[in-house]
Amino acid sequence: MEFKQLVINNSDSIVQKWMEEIDSLKDSNYTATISDELYESTNREFVNVIFTSIRNEGSTKAVEDFSEKIINLGWPLSYITDGLQIFRRVSTEYLLTQSEKVDSNFFTNLSASVNDWVEPLIRELVNEYSGSWEHIVSLQRVALQELSAPLIPVMEGITIMPLIGTIDTERAKLIMENLLEGAIKHNSEVVLIDITGVPVVDTMVAHHIIQAAEAVRLIGATCILVGIRPEIAQTIVNLGIDLSNFPTKSSLKKGFSTALEITGRHVTDLNVKENNIEKMMDSLRGE
């Protein structure tokens, strides 16, 4: 492995050339918001990782730490792949200038040798990077799923399901399951589905909501659809969707008072009553 030794011994000049090349990439590929100091220090760290990895024939810990850092910084994967391609090119060029006689045999050897240390490193870094991303995405998916169909028992017999964001088939299934399970568990008489936060109600979303409401009706509860914004009301009418089978309300507030009515309750303002009594007393005194 004389090439490898040559590269390691002359790391200074290779690093210098590499730094120049990667510096020229900054403007074209990456966001200009990255400060020069950060970019330079990260580049230094990157080239150190490359050399430690070559010296030790794979240094997992350093590679892991470095790819994690790049993800935390929010830099693209292309930074890593570009950096390694540049390294491959720069070291090949350097080795060529250092050799006196260059024939095709020599060149094949050289190229094979350089590939031998660069390729495992590319594989490792890219795997680390994409693995971390996949991990983040899967965690977010779980987090999103937990948020996707919450059911809140607000009062004996009244339960609210606030929906925010896009409803796809998977989520519609979850909504239905949670709605029925929760309505039975909390012994709900009235279930309010709040769609204030649903950006678009198309036929698919409407269909799922109708099915969910129908299922709620089957288990003996009433379903009220609340949070229908004026523009959504108009698109529902345009689409020709029939929502006449269950009550709908423009806001959660109105839906909640309807739910109170259904369960035989109403809200009384205690302060107003006291004021009234005081007023009555005053008027009595005045007489």
């Binding site: 896009t166 950006p199 109600v201 198309d202 109708i210 969707i241």
Partner: protein, 133 residues
């Protein structure tokens, strides 16, 4: 016919992307909130039809800006199974997927202009336009 933007529909989540682009373009053009919702819903219907029946296709948006009028045109193209009887799918309540059957007639009502061409085995092309009033 001015700037064109296209969204490929392959996955269910592409519907959301198409819808957002449609809404964004409608907003930039100066459509009101109700028309924005109409356009977003129409995109959603067309994209879902592509996803459900043709599996993949494309939705393109064109801004129409002439002296007489301005508007947004959307073109949904797929090379799916096609539609044998167009008058049937344009009836309210007709569905082959167990849905509400309000999609295509709904889009026609949501938009100002609507044109559908389909060939069995070749695919479907739907063009719908909304004018700014």
């Amino acid at each position: 016919m001015k700037p064109q933007a296209c969204v490929n529909i392959h996955k269910e989540w592409d519907i959301v992307g198409a819808r957002q682009l449609g809404r964004e373009m409608a907003k930039d053009l100066g459509f009101g909130t109700v028309d924005q919702a109409r356009i977003a819903t129409a995109v959603s219907e067309l994209a879902r039809n592509i996803y459900l029946y043709a599996e993949q296709g494309q939705i393109c948006f064109e801004i129409i800006d002439t002296i007489e009028r301005r508007g947004l045109c959307m073109i949904a193209v797929d090379s799916g199974p096609g539609i044998a009887d167009i008058s049937q799918v344009m009836q309210d309540g007709f569905t082959t997927s167990g849905g509400l059957g309000a999609g295509l007639p709904g889009v026609k009502r949501l938009m100002d202009e609507f044109d559908i061409r389909s060939e069995v085995g070749e695919g479907t092309k739907i063009k719908a336009t909304k004018w700014i009033r």
